[in-house]
């Protein structure tokens, strides 16, 4: 689905990525891990066509990414940004509907397929309670859910998510990971930059380990997140018992102003 070869990309005079070659297929849930500043966000932006690569090539379904055209690319690759930023006065509904932007005309008409994709995204993320509320009044976790619903509403075969679970409580982290995993199981390619190695080993199929702008290891979580890598790349000691797994014990959705 996505094949990248010899990628170099960066900002200003600096190359952040050097010589990256990766390949990813439909149905995979890939975790992109690595220390802060290792180039995870840059790789995600580059694979999504949001940052032009300086050398190398990216092919999506055997076509060069550069030849896809704006709309076509937007329909193929959905991107969930790291900062959960939007116009505070817009409602959850308005924001989720923006996910259909690659399909709408200049007057903003959303067709039947679009409405179905929106409804599905709202169901999956359980965002019904946030549809009428203004974005500025939502909590961090609620914003994350609305923005995930926005990204899912694109209904693209590829979803790139930049730290989708950062700064969320354990319950939200696990439910987000479950949603992303289910999306991959339904045939999408999901690539997510993640920091929580326990959740990575619990939920993902495949791990890309980045360090200083290069992919230094890849494979299944158990094979890659070994004592040596953790020491070399993350400068931490892996617990002998392995990573702990967590699961949710119930649902708890805040409705309006009451808890």
């Amino acid at each position: 689905m996505i094949r990248a070869k010899g990628l170099t990309a960066g900002y200003g005079p600096c190359d952040v990525l050097t010589g990256i070659s990766v390949s990813a297929d439909a149905g995979q849930f890939i975790a992109l891990v690595g220390p802060n500043g290792s180039g995870k966000s840059t790789l995600i932006k580059t694979l999504g066509g949001l940052l032009a690569h300086r050398s190398g090539q990216i092919r999506v379904n055997d076509k060069p990414l550069r030849d896809l055209g704006l709309r076509n690319r937007a329909r193929t690759i959905a991107y969930l940004a790291q900062d959960r930023d939007s116009q505070p006065a817009m409602t959850g509904q308005e924001i989720i509907t923006l996910g259909r932007a690659p399909y709408r005309g200049h007057l903003g008409h959303i067709g039947k397929t679009g409405q179905a994709a929106i409804n599905r995204a709202v169901d999956i993320t359980k965002s019904q309670a946030f549809l009428k509320r203004k974005f500025g009044t939502l909590s961090g976790g609620e914003r994350a859910r609305v923005l995930l619903a926005r990204a899912l509403a694109v209904d693209a075969p590829v979803l790139l998510a930049d730290e989708p679970i950062a700064a969320l409580d354990p319950y939200y982290q696990i439910t987000m990971m479950e949603i992303l995993k289910a999306e991959a199981r339904s045939g999408r390619l999901v690539i997510a930059a993640l920091h929580d190695l326990a959740l990575v080993s619990q939920f993902t199929d495949h791990v890309w380990v980045m360090n200083r702008g290069k992919i230094i290891a890849e494979g299944s979580p158990d094979a890659v997140l070994n004592v040596q890598t953790l020491h070399d790349v993350f400068r931490i000691v892996r617990p002998e018992s392995g990573f702990q797994t967590l699961s949710v014990s119930g649902t708890h959705v805040r409705d309006g102003c009451t808890f």
Binding site: L50, A74, M90, L98
Partner: protein, 321 residues
């Protein structure tokens, strides 16, 4: 749709009131007949040559200012953005002041438009097209400050008090020179400007998610920036060219409508165009009513005087809410 209907009705009522206002009282039936060329010659002359172009011009300029303000507030994602923020109104003013300084009064619209065009070229040259809203505003504020300083320099060296007072009055903004000629300059430029701005409404809405996410949804940042700059320059430049600088409309009309109707930047551009038109027609009518023989109340002063207290009231209400 409901709001379009309400705002259009407001504009129509304001236009009728404006057409009936003037030093010569003309009753409604006679005024309507005169508009279509029937009745007394004097009435026909007043209605067709003076009042109609003035009302249409006020609507045209107000629409351009309102839409520009809404588009810029959406594009910069900042409610404090006003049409003047890109510096085009200061550039157009500079162009006009150069003509007034040189005693070439009839060339004011042309030099003002040239000033706005030079402003566009400088902005494009300074920022390129893919730097994003923050760089554009920074360059625009700088450009505006430079044009204002040069305007001050010219006033400093004004050849005589008459030229200076002419410049000062012109800068206050008014529609006293409104005629069909002014309308023919303003309307053909404002309309394509409005089209540019309304055209990017949906993209601006998507941009509220941030530039990266908007790009991922297929928004071309280059196209949006080009259309914002072109649209604002056409609307603001043509307005300044025929009426001088009229402040505050572009800032507070979108602001009020956002609070009253909703934050969707796409809808807000159209609403603000209608709201700006209605407001400026009313303000001009009021300015004429308040001007007596020998004293003229300038439109630009009145718009600020009406706008500022209302704006402050809204701001205070927002703080206390």
């Amino acid at each position: 749709m409901k709001y379009y209907f309400i705002l259009t009705s407001v504009c129509c009522i304001a236009a009728v009131l404006s057409l009936l206002t003037g030093t010569t009282p003309i009753p409604l039936p006679a005024a309507l007949a005169a508009l279509f060329g029937h009745g007394e010659t004097a009435h026909i002359l007043i209605m067709q040559e003076l009042r109609l172009p003035r009302t249409l011009l006020a609507g045209c300029i107000g629409a351009g200012l309102g839409a520009s303000g809404a588009a810029l507030q959406g594009y910069t994602r900042n409610g404090l953005a006003a049409p003047g923020i890109l510096g085009f109104s200061a550039c157009a003013s500079l162009g006009a002041v150069i003509a007034l300084y040189s005693g070439l009064d009839q060339w004011v619209p042309v030099t003002a438009l040239v000033g706005a065009a030079v402003g566009v070229i400088l902005i494009m040259f300074m920022t390129g097209v893919r730097k994003g809203a923050a760089t554009l505003v920074l360059a625009g504020v700088g450009l505006g400050a430079l044009a204002t300083a040069l305007t001050g320099l010219i006033m400093n060296f004004a050849p005589n008090p008459w030229a200076l007072s002419e410049i000062v009055y012109w800068m206050m903004g008014s529609l006293r020179n409104a005629d069909m000629g002014a309308l023919y300059i303003c309307a053909p430029l404002t309309l394509p400007g409005l089209v540019c701005l309304i055209f990017i409404g949906q993209d601006l809405k998507t941009l509220s998610l941030g530039e990266l996410t908007a790009q991922s949804l297929g928004v071309s940042v280059v196209r949006v920036q080009t259309l914002v700059v072109t649209g604002v320059a056409l609307c603001v430049g043509s307005g300044v060219a025929v009426a001088g600088s009229i402040g505050f409309v572009g800032l507070f009309i979108p602001h009020i409508l956002r609070m009253a109707i909703g934050a969707d930047p796409a809808k807000l551009i159209g609403y603000s165009a209608l709201g700006g038109a209605g407001f400026l027609i009313c303000a001009d009518t009021l300015a004429r009513l308040m001007s007596g023989p020998g004293t003229t109340l300038y439109l630009g002063i009145l718009t600020s005087l009406i706008g500022v207290p209302f704006f402050l009231w809204l701001a205070v209400r927002e703080v206390r809410a």
